[in-house]
C-alpha cells in the first residue's frame, strides 16, 4: 500500500496524454500547466499518507 501511494503521483506526472491539452483552463492558465503545478502539493500529500501508514521504516 505504501508503494502504491508513492507511485500514484509519479505515474500521473509522466502520463502526458492525460494532461497535454489547453482546456480546461483555470484562471486563464492552460490545463497542461495548472495540472502539473497542482500535482506538486498533491504528491506531498501522498508521501505524508505513506509515512502515516508506513511506520518508522517507511
Amino acid at each position: 500500500m505504501k508503494y502504491v501511494l508513492l507511485i500514484i503521483p509519479c505515474v500521473l506526472s509522466v502520463w502526458v496524454p492525460l494532461y497535454n491539452s489547453i482546456e480546461p483552463t483555470l484562471a486563464g492558465i492552460p490545463f497542461f500547466f495548472w495540472f502539473l503545478l497542482v500535482l506538486i502539493p498533491v504528491s506531498s500529500i501522498f508521501m505524508w499518507a505513506a509515512s502515516r501508514i508506513g511506520g518508522d521504516d517507511a
Binding site: V14, V16, I29, P30, F32, F33, I40, S44
Partner: protein, 504 residues
C-alpha cells in the same frame, strides 16, 4: 566598464552579497565541531535537523542555473521546458524510499560519500573509483554553470568589460566563496541557504503576483505566448507528438541522476537522521512549486515584449523591465547568492569524494583524519579554480554541453547505488561492466554531427540518452551477475539499512 551600471540595483546587490560573506565566515562556529575531521568539515557533523536540511537541500538542488535555464527553455519553446516539473515530482517519492536507507548505513559505517557505500557493499575498488570519477567529472561543469548564472545577473546590472576584466566581479565573488568554504566547510552554505531561500521565495512570489497583474492577468500572458509560438514546429503551450517521448524520459532520467550527484548525497548525509530526510521529501516539493512558477516567467517574458537573442537573458531582462531598480537588484542578489550555495556544496561533495575514494584507496591508505580534512579543504579550492578557469577560458557552450553529458554519466551509477541498497545479488564486476557500457553508449549517443544532443530516436520514439544508456547498463550488469558469482562478504547487515538511531 561601469558607465552603464544601474547604481540602485548594484548597491542593493552588493549589500546582500556582503551580508552572506560575513555569514559564510561566521558559520565556522555554528554547531561547533572539530573542523579537522572530514565528517565535521564535509558533512557538518551530521547534525542538521529537518529545518536546516530543508533550507540546505532546497538551496543546493534548486540552483541559480536552474532559475535562469528552466524559464529560458520555456521562453524559447514553451511547454517542453516544463519537463522540470514532472522531474521534480518524481524525485521525492524516490528520496522518501531510498535515502533514509542510505543515511542509516552511512551513519552506521561512517560513510561520507556514495562511493564509500559502494566499496563497503561490493568490496570492489574499480567500481568505487568509477563511481567517484563519475561524480567528480559531472560536478565540475555543474559548478561552472553556477558561474554562468551569476555572470548573467552581473551583466544585467550593467557591468561591461573587455577581455579578462569582464570576469572581474565574478572572480572576486568566487574567491570570497572559496575562502569561506575552505574555512567553514558545509556549515557555510547551510547557513547562507537560509538567506538565499527566503530571498528567492520573496522574489518569486512578488514576480508571479505583480508581473501578470501588470500584463493583464495570466489569461493575457498565455494568449500572447501562444501567438509567439504559433506556426513554429515543436513550440507551443502543449507538447507535439515528437516531444512526448523526450519529455517523459528527460523527466525520469533527470530524476534518476539528481541524487547520484555528490552534492545531493552530501546534503542528504548531513541530515541528523532518517526522519529528517522523510520529512524533507514531503516538504521539499514547496521548492518544486517555486520552480514551476519560475518556469512560467519564460511565458511572461513574451507577454512583456522581451526580445533577446540568448534565451538565458530573458529573465534578467524581464525583472529589469517590470520591477523598480531596487527590487531588480534584490532579485539579482537572490539569483547570485543562489549560485553560491550549490557551488559550495558541489565543491565540498567533490572534495570529499576525491579524498575518500581516490586519494585514500589509491595513494595513501594510511591517511590520518587530520590529513584527510586538510586534503579535502585543498581540493575544494582546486575544484573551484578549475570551474572558474572553464568559464573564463572556454566558451560557455562548452560548460553547457558538459553539464548535459554530466546527467547522462551520473545515471550510470544508479544501478550500483540503488540496487545495492536492497540486494547484494549484483556483483561488483558486473556492475562495473554495466557502467562501462552505459557510460560509453550514453556519450556516443550524445555525440551529434554539429552539437551534443540530449535525446536520440530509438524504435521510432525519441528518448533521453541517459535513460537509453542506463537500460543497457542494467541489462549488462544483470546478465553478467549470473556469470560472475564472486560472493563477497561485505560487513553490511540488512539491519544497517533500517532506522536505528539519530544523531539529533
Amino acid at each position: 566598464m561601469i558607465d552603464h551600471l544601474n547604481w540602485t540595483a548594484t548597491v542593493v546587490f552588493v549589500f546582500f552579497f556582503a551580508i552572506v560573506t560575513v555569514i559564510g565566515f561566521v558559520a565556522a562556529r555554528w554547531k561547533s565541531g572539530n573542523l579537522d575531521e572530514l565528517h565535521e568539515w564535509g558533512l557538518g557533523g551530521r547534525r542538521f535537523g529537518a529545518w536546516i536540511t530543508w533550507f540546505l537541500l532546497g538551496g543546493d538542488l534548486y540552483t541559480a542555473y536552474t532559475v535562469i535555464a528552466v524559464p529560458a527553455v520555456v521562453y524559447a519553446i514553451g511547454s517542453y521546458g516544463f519537463f522540470a516539473v514532472p522531474y521534480t515530482i518524481l524525485i521525492y517519492p524516490f528520496v522518501f524510499l531510498t535515502m533514509p536507507r542510505l543515511w542509516n548505513v552511512a551513519r552506521e559505517k561512517g560513510y561520507i560519500t556514495g562511493a564509500d557505500f559502494i566499496f563497503g557493499r561490493y568490496r570492489n575498488k574499480g567500481l568505487e573509483l568509477a563511481v567517484a570519477f563519475t561524480g567528480i567529472l559531472a560536478t565540475m561543469p555543474y559548478i561552472a554553470l553556477q558561474l554562468v548564472g551569476m555572470e548573467k545577473v552581473i551583466q544585467a546590472l550593467g557591468f561591461q568589460g573587455q577581455g579578462m576584466m569582464s570576469h572581474l566581479p565574478l572572480t572576486i565573488a568566487f574567491v570570497i566563496l572559496a575562502l569561506y568554504t575552505y574555512r567553514s566547510g558545509l556549515r557555510a552554505p547551510a547557513m547562507i541557504a537560509f538567506v538565499k531561500d527566503i530571498m528567492i521565495y520573496i522574489f518569486v512570489i512578488a514576480a508571479v503576483v505583480i508581473i501578470p497583474a501588470k500584463l493583464g492577468g495570466y489569461g493575457a500572458v498565455f494568449d500572447v505566448a501562444a501567438k509567439a509560438y504559433a506556426g513554429k514546429a515543436n513550440q507551443g503551450l502543449t507538447l507535439s507528438p515528437a516531444q512526448i517521448g523526450p519529455f517523459i524520459t528527460l523527466a525520469i532520467g533527470s530524476a534518476m541522476a539528481l541524487f547520484m550527484y555528490p552534492h545531493s548525497l552530501t546534503g542528504v548525509l548531513s541530515a541528523s537522521g532518517p526522519k529528517a530526510i522523510r520529512r524533507n521529501a514531503m516538504t521539499l516539493p514547496a521548492y518544486s512549486l517555486l520552480l514551476g512558477l519560475i518556469a512560467l516567467m519564460g511565458l511572461m517574458a513574451h507577454a512583456a515584449g522581451i526580445e533577446v537573442a540568448n534565451p538565458q537573458d530573458a529573465i534578467p531582462q524581464l525583472l529589469l523591465k517590470m520591477f523598480p531598480d531596487w527590487f531588480a537588484g534584490f532579485c539579482f542578489a537572490a539569483i547570485a547568492i543562489g549560485a553560491l550555495v550549490p557551488a559550495a556544496v558541489m565543491s565540498i561533495g567533490a572534495a570529499n569524494t576525491f579524498t575518500r575514494n581516490v586519494w585514500r584507496p589509491f595513494v595513501n591508505p594510511a591517511i590520518s583524519p587530520l590529513q584527510e580534512s586538510q586534503l579535502a579543504k585543498l581540493m575544494s579550492l582546486i575544484v573551484k579554480v578549475g570551474a572558474l578557469a572553464v568559464i573564463i577560458l572556454m566558451p560557455t557552450k562548452f560548460a553547457l554541453d558538459l553539464q548535459l553529458l554530466g546527467g547522462v554519466w551520473m545515471i550510470q551509477i544508479f544501478p550500483a547505488v540503488i540496487f545495492g541498497l536492497y540486494t547484494r545479488w549484483y556483483s561488483g564486476e558486473a556492475l562495473l561492466a554495466g557502467w562501462v557500457v552505459g557510460f560509453g553508449l550514453g556519450s556516443y549517443l550524445a555525440w551529434g554531427a554539429t552539437a551534443w544532443v540530449p535525446t536520440s530516436t530509438i524504435l521510432g520514439y525519441g528518448a533521453y540518452n541517459g535513460v537509453i544508456a542506463v537500460i543497457a547498463n542494467i541489462v549488462v550488469a544483470t546478465a553478467l551477475s549470473f556469470v560472475f558469482r564472486t560472493k563477497v562478504e561485505g560487513d553490511i547487515a540488512n539491519a544497517d539499512f533500517l532506522d536505528a538511531r539519530s544523531t539529533a
